[in-house]
């Protein structure tokens, strides 16, 4: 079960993904990986991360970014950061 916070995060994330990958119809799901999205390569990946950092006002470390495998994990990490925020 996704918590309400997570659903909100997914909705905001969808907006960011659609803008970065220039794909208005893109629908995200938890198990999605970079191979599922056209143009999601190592170049665009950091553009995406920077856009997410701006949108959610959080900061990621290289270690966190490197170990992410799925969109679900990304949403989980954002939630963790938002909860830990003062």
């Amino acid at each position: 079960m996704q918590s309400a916070g997570n659903a909100e995060i997914m909705e905001t994330l969808t907006g960011v993904f659609r803008e970065i990958f220039d794909s208005p119809g893109l629908v995200l799901h938890d198990a999605m990986t970079a191979t599922d999205v056209e143009n999601w390569d190592s170049l665009n990946h950091i553009d995406l991360i920077v856009a997410i950092e701006k949108k959610f006002k959080v900061k990621f470390t290289t270690r966190e970014v490197a170990s992410l495998k799925t969109v679900g994990e990304l949403a989980g990490l954002i939630q963790q950061k938002l909860v830990a925020k003062p």
Partner: protein, 478 residues
């Protein structure tokens, strides 16, 4: 030992046959013994150093991955990565300068490949992507696995370790892949090599027998084809051999010369190296410089491409190769969005755009590879500045070249290359696989028998031939 050498091709069937008798829990140890024996024959000293650096990384990995001592793990991580980089750098510097000859240090075979495997292991543990290996034999095999030891592909331990000990092998598939690679090497690469070698040995106007115009252009176009046939053959052989022992390795190529942009080319060429650098060099650099915006992107891309260049060796030629590709890649990345937008609003130009993109990419890549192949940077610039000169005597220049190297050999090489591109486009192997699944048993078995006999004959012929002249692979020197 070269993979196409007589001794190797004679020994391999025996090593594979014995592997199938070994019980599952003994398979890792068997692979370790065979791999080290293979390396020991080349140099006992290098094998001992490999064992030492592997053990150190194994124990370092345990400390780095210990969740109860994070601070200590971080320190050990930094030391381990620092030492591995230093280890790689010392040998590379020794090889590039007269230091190596003075001190008597030779570049250990496969150094650039196995240190990258070791580094990825330590970094993956530090990043929390994998747990430290529990079995030191499995880990040592992941680093020294002999099909990949001398020339890759760079299979990260994170991908290799879950496969050992391999419960089932893929001898039939592996054998076909290996024969395909051997044929590519011997029929295509080795037949293009004499012309390429001749051209690059006769650059320079004042030199006796120095080549001009069209002959230089032949070298410009032929070397990339030779390199691709040679290096992808080596990958086919390594992957095929791996399958015979039940290991699935990473692919290294995906029809690189069909790329329609520079970034597209680099996602299709030496993929196990470029994806390694993307994960462990580009991403950390880009994360660190992300607040700098476009400047950060330019810096990260440039450093990444220079790293790809000098990974091959610390020479001005490899550096120039890296820098040229850095310039290409930066131009590609900075214009990507606008290009996409431009073609989105003009769909009737998309086809033309793709075609132009391919033509431009192909020539830019070839231009960069001149620096890769030429003995010196000035040789490379001389070739590039004179290849289009004097096209009026193109016929005479080409006849001069062919008289020296042999037209028949080149023709076989070129015909082989055309067959290679065609096969990669049509993929008869996939057609064959789907046919095998649906064909009646009697037909399948009889066809398998015929193919088996064909492979056996090809193997014998290749073994005999390689007894006379086994030429080294271009990528077995890094």
């Amino acid at each position: 030992m070269i993979f196409t050498s007589f001794n190797f091709l004679l020994l391999l069937p025996l090593v594979v046959a014995l592997y199938h008798i070994v019980p599952l829990r003994g398979r890792s140890l068997y692979l370790l013994v065979v791999s080290y024996a293979f390396y020991w024959i080349w140099s006992p000293g290098a094998a001992a150093v490999l064992a030492a650096v592997t053990s150190l990384t194994f124990y370092a990995g345990k400390v780095v991955g210990d969740p109860t001592a994070e601070r200590r793990g971080r320190v050990v991580f930094l030391y381990a990565i620092g030492l591995l980089i230093l280890y790689l750098a010392i040998f590379k510097i020794a090889a590039a300068t007269s230091l190596g000859r003075t001190v008597g240090i030779a570049l250990p075979l496969g150094l650039s490949y196995y240190t990258f495997k070791l580094m990825s292991y330590i970094i993956d543990i530090y990043w929390g992507k994998i747990q430290p290996a529990t079995n030191r034999i499995d880990f040592a095999v992941a680093i020294a696995f002999f099909p990949q030891l001398t020339a890759g592909p760079i299979q990260r331990p994170a991908d290799f370790l879950p496969q050992v000990p391999p419960p089932r092998t893929m001898v039939w598939q592996g054998l076909s892949r290996m024969v395909w690679g051997l044929a590519k090497k011997m029929l295509i690469a080795d037949n293009l090599a004499p012309t390429v070698n001749y051209v690059y040995a006769h650059i320079g106007g004042s030199q006796v027998g120095g080549l001009h115009g069209a002959a230089l252009l032949a070298g410009f176009y032929l070397f990339p084809l030779q390199l691709y046939a040679d290096f992808s053959a080596l990958t086919d052989i390594a992957l095929g051999m791996g399958m015979m022992f039940g290991i699935q390795g990473p692919e290294n190529f995906n029809r690189p010369f069909t790329a329609s942009s520079i970034s597209d080319f680099w996602s299709r060429w030496h993929m196990s190296l470029t994806s390694w650098l993307a994960d462990y060099v580009f991403t950390p650099l880009r994360m660190t410089t992300r607040s700098l915006g476009t400047l950060g992107l330019v810096l990260s891309l440039s450093l990444n491409m220079v790293a790809i260049g000098i990974w091959h060796g610390l020479t001005w030629g490899y550096l120039a190769f890296g820098l040229v590709n850095a310039a290409y890649f930066v131009a590609d990345a900075l214009t990507a969005r606008n290009r996409v937008k431009f073609f989105k609003t003009r769909p009737n130009l998309t086809r033309l755009g793709n075609w132009m993109g391919w033509l431009l990419t192909f020539h830019l890549v070839l231009l960069g590879l001149v620096f890769f192949r030429a003995h010196t940077v000035s040789d490379a610039t001389w070739l590039l500045s004179h290849a289009l000169g004097g096209l009026a005597h193109a016929k005479a220049d080409v006849s001069h070249l062919l008289a020296a190297t042999g037209a028949k050999v080149l023709l076989v090489g070129l015909a082989g290359y055309a067959a290679l591109e065609l096969a990669e486009r049509l993929r008869p192997d996939q057609w064959w696989l789907s046919f095998e699944l649906t064909a009646p048993t009697w037909l399948r078995l009889s066809l398998q028998f015929v193919t088996g006999a064909f492979i056996a004959v090809a193997w014998v012929l290749l073994t005999i031939r390689s007894g006379n002249h086994a030429s080294p692979f271009l990528y077995q020197v890094f």
